[in-house]
Amino acid sequence: MKYKYFRKGLALPFALFLILFVIIPILFIIFYAFTDNQGFFSFDAVVSFFTSTTKLNVLLVSILVGLFNTVLCLLIGFPLAYLLANPKFNKNYVLVMLFVMPMWINFVLRTGALRDLLSIVLGWFNTTNGEHPLFCTMVGMVTNYLPFTILPLYSTMLKLDKSQIEAAQDLGCNPFKTFTRNIIPQTLPGLVSASMMVFMPTISSYVISDTLSEGKIMLFGNSIYLSFSNSDWNGGSFMSLIMLIIIFIVMFATKKFQGNGSERRLSAW
C-alpha cells in the first residue's frame, strides 16, 4: 500500500505545476473575458470584439496565414522527411540534426538574424523588407516551423511499411497512385500532428510578423499582445479565450485521426 501511495506521489509536482500555471491562468482568462475593468460581470469584451471589423479581419488573416504556412511547410517538409528516412540517402542521423539544430537557438535571435539576412537579399533587388511584408513573414514562418513539420513526419516515415507500398504497386498503382492511395494514408498520423504543430502556433505568433514585416502584418497574436500592452485586460483575455477555443476545436477534429491511425498500425503488425 505504501508503495502505491509513493507512486501516486510522484505525480504531485506535475499536478501542482498544472494547477498553478495552466488551470488557474485559464480561469483568470475566463474571469477577465467576462468582466469589465471594475470587476463586474459584463459582455463588453465580447461585444467589442465581434463589432470590431479590424479585430475580425486580423483573425481571418491569421487563419489564412496559418493555413498557408501549414501547406507550405508540408509541401517542403514531406519530401524532405521522406528522403531523410531513406537509409540510402541519410546514412546517419547527421542530416536530421542539421534540420533540427536551428531549434536550439533562441527563436527571437534567429528571427532577428533572418530579418537582416532578408534585407541583404532584398537589397540586391533594390527593395526592403517593409515593401514585401507578407513575403518576409512567410519566409520567417516557414523557416521557423519547418523543423516542427519534419520531426513528426520523419518519425512516421521511419515506420513506413515498404511491403504495403509494394502491394499497392502490385495491385496496379502507378507511382502517383501509390503515393495518394498508400503513402499518404500510411503517413496520415504524421501529417495531422505536423499540421497541428504548425497551424496553431502560427496563428498566435507575433514576434515573426512583428520583426519581419516591420509591423505591417498584424496576426492574432500581435493583436492580443497589443491589447495587453495597452492595459485592455478584458479584450485581450477574450481574444485569448477565442484562441483556446480554436485550439480545442482543432484538437477535437483531429483526435480521431491521430488516435485511430496509430492504434491500427500497432495492432495490425
Binding site: 511491403s163 504495403q164 502490385d170 495491385l171 496496379g172 497512385k177 491511425g261 492504434e263 495490425a268 503488425w269
Partner: protein
C-alpha cells in the same frame, strides 16, 4: 510488349537472369521455365535467392542481366503495376486504413479495361503505340547498362530492339481507350472473390480485428481478384500455427485447381513443398539445384544438398567397387544405379528404407541404438554402425540396450555423383615474404612443393638441380583437401574467417561450405555441427597444401 515467341506452353521463362546486390551475386545466370497452370514451388534455405527470384517475376527487382518472358513477351523492363501478376506477401501487407471489402476491391479500382477505339465510319482507329515504344526504349536502356553479356551479343540484341522500335514508330496499330470498372462490376467480383476464400460475412470488418488466418485469406482474395495470369506467394503460411498451416495448404491446393492459374510459391519448408506442388525447384546459393516433381526430387535427388534438404536422409561417402556394388559403412551393398568402378560417390539412404530387426539375419549389419525418439506413428532411431550414424524409422519399439540389426536393400540405395571434393584456388600467389597468399591471407608454406625433389632455405629460396629460384610475386594454384582444414568457433587466431553457407551431414562428419569476405569458398570436413550464417575461423594444415606454379619456371631463376 515485344513479342519474341519461343515456347508456347511456358508462361514464365527466365533466361540467364543474374541479380547482384552490393557486389554480391544473389542469382547467378538462372534459367527457368514454368508451365502454364502449374503449382510450382521454389524451395531453398533462407538467403538462397528464392524470394529475389519471385520479386523479379513480380517486378519489384530488375535483373542486372538476362530476360524474363511472360507468355513469350519480354517483361523485364515493365514495372510491377503493369504486369498481369499478383502477389500474396509474406506478412500479407494488407492496407490497415481500409476494411476487408476495400482491401479486396483495391486492385479492381486501379484496373482499366481496354476498349478498342473506332473512327466515325466504324473502321478501327489506328495510332502509333506510344506505350509499346516506351517499353522498347526501356528495354534498350536496360540492355545498355548490362555489364555481363558479351559485347557482341549486346550489339546484336540492341540492333534487334532498334529495328523493333523503328517498326513500332512507323506502323500505326489499333488504338484503345481505357475504362475503369463500374462499382457494380467491382461489387460482383469482390463478393465472388470473398466467397472463394470463405470470408463472405466479413466484408465490413477492420483488418486489425481479423485473425492471422483471416488476414491471409483477405490477402489471397485481394491478389486473385484482378484475375492475374500468375499468382505469386511469398512464404504466405509462415506466420500461421501448424494446424492452420496444414489446413491452408490443402485449401490453397484446391483454390489452385478451382482458379486454374499458375501459382508460384516460395517456401523453405520442404514438407509444404512436397504436399502442394506439381513441380519443385530446389535452390541453393543463387543456383537452381534440381527441378522436378515432388516424387522425383524425393526419390532421385541430384546431389547431396537436395537429398539433405528434402526430408531427413543418411548421406555417406562411398566407393563403387564393382558392377552395381558399392561400399560404405565398411560393408559392400548391392545397388541399382550404375557408376564406373572405383568412382567416389555420395550415397543416400532414406530412413524409411533402412530395415530393422532385433535378431541377426543374413545380410543384416549389427549396430547399437544411440537414440530413440517417439514421433507419433513411428519411432526414429539413430543407430551407430562403427563410427557411422544411420537414421532409421520403425513402428516397432526396440530395446535400447540390445544390439539392433539393419539391412539396406538395393532399391533403397541412391548413388549420386560426388562434387567439389577439393578446394582449388587458382588466384593464390606468393608474396615478397615468401608466404603463400590464399584469399589474401599469408600462410607460411613449404615452397619446395613448387618443384618436386627440391629444397628450400630459410630465406624462402628454392634450390633444384643446382639452380636457385626466387618465387616472390609468383602466381600459383593452391589445392587443399576439405579434411586438411580445421574449422572452429574461435575466430581470434584463425588466419581466415568466413560465414557458413550450408552444412550436409554425411554419416560420421559434416561437409560444410564456408564463404569468406572476399567471396572465396572453402569446403571443410568437420565432426562438429555448425549452423548456416555462423562466423567461423579456418586453420590450414600447412604441410598438406599443394602448390603449382602458374607460368614458366625459368622466369623465377636467380
Amino acid at each position: 510488349m515485344c513479342a519474341e515467341k519461343i515456347g508456347e506452353n511456358y508462361i514464365i521463362e527466365m533466361n540467364n537472369v543474374t541479380k547482384i546486390f552490393d557486389g554480391v551475386t544473389v542469382i547467378d545466370k538462372m534459367n527457368l521455365k514454368i508451365k502454364k497452370g502449374e503449382f510450382v514451388t521454389i524451395l531453398g534455405p533462407s538467403g538462397c535467392g528464392k524470394s529475389t527470384t519471385l520479386r523479379m517475376i513480380a517486378g519489384f527487382e530488375t535483373p542486372d542481366s538476362g530476360d524474363i518472358l511472360l507468355n513469350g513477351s519480354n517483361i523485364t523492363a515493365i514495372p510491377p503495376y503493369r504486369r498481369p501478376i499478383n502477389t500474396v506477401f509474406q506478412h500479407y501487407a494488407l492496407f490497415p486504413n481500409l476494411d476487408v471489402y476495400d482491401n479486396v476491391a483495391f486492385g479492381l479500382r486501379n484496373k482499366k479495361i481496354a476498349v478498342p477505339l473506332k473512327n466515325k465510319d466504324g473502321s478501327p482507329m489506328l495510332k502509333i503505340d506510344k506505350g509499346l515504344a516506351k517499353d522498347l526504349k526501356n528495354q534498350i536502356k536496360r540492355l545498355k547498362k548490362d555489364k555481363i553479356i558479351s559485347s557482341e551479343e549486346k550489339e546484336n540484341r540492341l540492333n534487334y530492339l532498334y529495328q523493333k522500335l523503328d517498326e513500332c514508330l512507323s506502323t500505326p496499330r489499333q488504338a484503345y481507350k481505357y475504362k475503369h470498372l463500374s462499382e457494380e462490376e467491382i461489387d460482383e467480383k469482390v463478393v465472388k472473390a470473398l466467397s472463394i476464400v470463405d470470408l463472405d460475412e466479413l466484408e465490413d470488418r477492420d483488418i486489425s480485428t481479423l485473425s492471422g488466418g483471416q488476414q491471409q485469406r483477405v490477402a489471397i482474395a485481394r491478389a486473385i481478384i484482378c484475375e492475374p495470369l500468375i499468382l505469386l506467394l511469398d512464404e504466405p503460411l509462415g506466420a500461421l500455427d501448424l494446424k492452420m498451416r496444414k489446413d491452408m495448404q490443402i485449401e490453397l491446393k484446391e483454390m489452385h485447381k478451382k482458379i486454374g492459374i499458375t501459382f508460384i510459391y516460395v517456401t523453405h519448408d520442404q514438407e509444404e513443398a512436397l504436399t502442394m506442388s506439381d513441380t519443385i525447384i530446389v535452390m541453393n546459393d543463387g543456383v537452381i539445384q534440381q527441378i522436378g516433381s515432388p516424387e522425383n526430387i524425393y526419390n532421385e535427388p541430384q546431389n547431396a544438398f537436395v537429398a539433405d534438404f528434402i526430408g531427413s536422409s543418411n548421406i555417406y561417402n562411398a566407393t563403387v567397387i564393382g558392377d552395381k556394388k558399392v561400399r560404405f559403412l565398411n560393408h559392400v551393398f548391392n545397388c541399382v544405379d550404375f557408376f564406373p568402378i572405383n568412382e567416389r560417390v555420395d550415397v543416400i539412404v532414406r530412413p524409411e528404407d533402412v530395415h530393422l530387426s532385433d535378431v541377426p539375419k543374413e545380410n543384416y549389419l549389427e549396430g547399437k541404438i544411440a537414440s530413440k525418439v517417439f514421433k507419433g506413428i513411428h519411432y526414429q532411431y539413430s543407430i551407430m554402425i562403427g563410427h557411422d550414424e544411420v537414421l532409421a524409422q520403425s513402428i516397432k519399439d526396440f530395446d535400447q540396450n540390445k544390439p539392433l540389426y539393419i539391412e539396406i536393400r538395393p532399391d533403397g540405395i541412391h548413388l549420386m555423383k560426388k562434387e567439389n571434393i577439393s578446394n582449388v584456388y587458382t588466384d593464390s600467389y606468393i608474396g615478397k615474404d615468401h608466404k603463400v597468399y590464399i584469399d589474401e591471407c599469408p600462410i607460411d608454406c613449404d615452397l619446395s612443393k613448387m618443384i618436386n625433389n627440391s629444397t628450400v632455405d630459410e630465406d624462402g629460396i628454392v634450390t633444384y638441380d643446382n639452380k636457385k629460384y626466387d618465387f616472390a610475386n609468383a602466381d600459383c594454384v593452391a589445392t587443399i583437401s576439405p579434411k586438411d582444414i580445421q574449422v572452429s568457433d574461435d575466430t581470434s587466431d584463425a588466419p581466415i574467417k568466413g560465414r557458413v553457407i550450408n552444412s550436409v551431414y554425411k554419416g560420421d562428419h559434416y561437409l560444410i561450405l564456408v564463404r569468406t569476405e572476399n567471396d572465396e569458398d572453402f569446403f571443410v570436413m568437420t565432426p562438429y555441427t555448425f549452423n548456416a550464417d555462423d562466423i567461423v575461423g579456418l586453420n590450414f594444415d600447412k604441410s598438406k597444401i599443394e602448390l603449382k606454379l602458374k607460368g614458366d619456371l625459368n622466369d623465377y631463376e636467380i
